[in-house]
Symmetry: C2
Subunit: 203 residues, 2 copies
């Protein structure tokens, strides 16, 4: 058995304020690192045309979902428009045990729940390069009134203060550059001494 296979996988949680570009960076990263496994969410909403259970989502009834909540089988969950969404612990942990790294892209509230239930995850905070750039990104959507812009921008500034709950800050100036920084973090974390102490017993 090679050394690499002795290390279990690592859960990387990609989060950050609204407008940081989590989805875009996540897509770029999955192209650059196909060996990463993207976490699959569980939901109580009905499958849409073409969606498959265990691929797009794990589709479950509300009763099943609530039972999993009560039994601590979700790393995080939220209720959105009367449907539940969550991250099943078992799927993530089985991948990690196989030595596969898992990537979870999630908002800040979800990330804080994951941190509580799975503190050995690595928490990455993606941010826009500047306040000016964030303004431009929010306005660029072209859907904001003055009031809603102020709300979104204010919320993003508030969310930014959550930075100190994370392990790493990744500035999303250029998507591919941000993705490469995350790749570097994945490599570095596998070199972290706490993940390599088993080597001491091998010599």
């Amino acid at each position: 058995m090679s050394r690499v296979s002795r290390q279990s996988g690592i859960l990387f949680v990609l989060s950050g304020p609204s407008g940081a570009g989590k989805g875009t960076v996540c897509q770029a990263l999955m192209k650059q690192m196909p060996q990463l496994c993207l976490s699959i969410s569980m939901t109580t909403r009905a499958p849409r045309l073409g969606e498959k259970d265990g691929v797009n989502y794990f589709f479950r009834t509300k009763e099943e979902f609530k039972s999993m909540m009560e039994h601590g089988e979700l790393l995080e969950w939220a209720n959105v428009y009367d449907n539940y969404y969550g991250t099943p612990r078992k799927f993530v942990e089985s991948k990690l045990q196989e030595g596969i790294d898992v990537l979870l892209e999630i908002d800040i509230q979800g990330a804080m729940q994951v941190k509580k239930h799975y503190p050995s995850g690595v928490f990455l905070f993606l941010i826009p390069p500047s306040a000016t750039e964030l303004q431009a990104r929010i306005l660029g959507r072209g859907t904001e009134t003055d009031e809603s812009f102020k709300q979104r921008f204010g919320a993003a500034r508030y969310e930014l203060a959550m930075m100190n709950q994370y392990d790493y800050v990744v500035v999303n100036d250029v998507v591919d550059a941000a993705s490469e920084r995350i790749q570097a973090i994945v490599t570095a974390e596998h070199c972290n001494v706490s993940r390599n102490l088993y080597l001491l017993t091998e010599w």
Copy 2:
């Protein structure tokens, strides 16, 4: 002023057991990352032909060296065959303040001294890929008797146990791969949240 220039440089200390290949990896890394500044040692030995003060070494008298030792101006020092060698704190710190990362390649004893005097450094432990490979490397030098081989191999095993004093373990299986892992660690460390909290005051 750009954000990057607001972060100070980081001191990376590359160390590890005898036979790990520190020098070779260090050379490869300096080629891949010319923006890294290699720490220049101070010594009391006489300059050899072509060696220049402030380039190969800082050449100093024993009196000057001892005065610096006594005034805490060295991050580490050692006496080898009646000459002193050490790492001047001022050179390292001035580079870090300019925002330049500094690389220091040093044996384990020296690294432990640096850790004591400069705990905010990042400490990398380079190791051979396996005990078998270490044996091969030691024997490959062709200069070892049975006895000296046993001594060297035993010392390396003993040194390996120092791993848990370090931040990262880098397996030197292939020199360029090891160097790339170190590059990733450099990138990741700059993303470490503790080095980016100043961003909170900028928004």
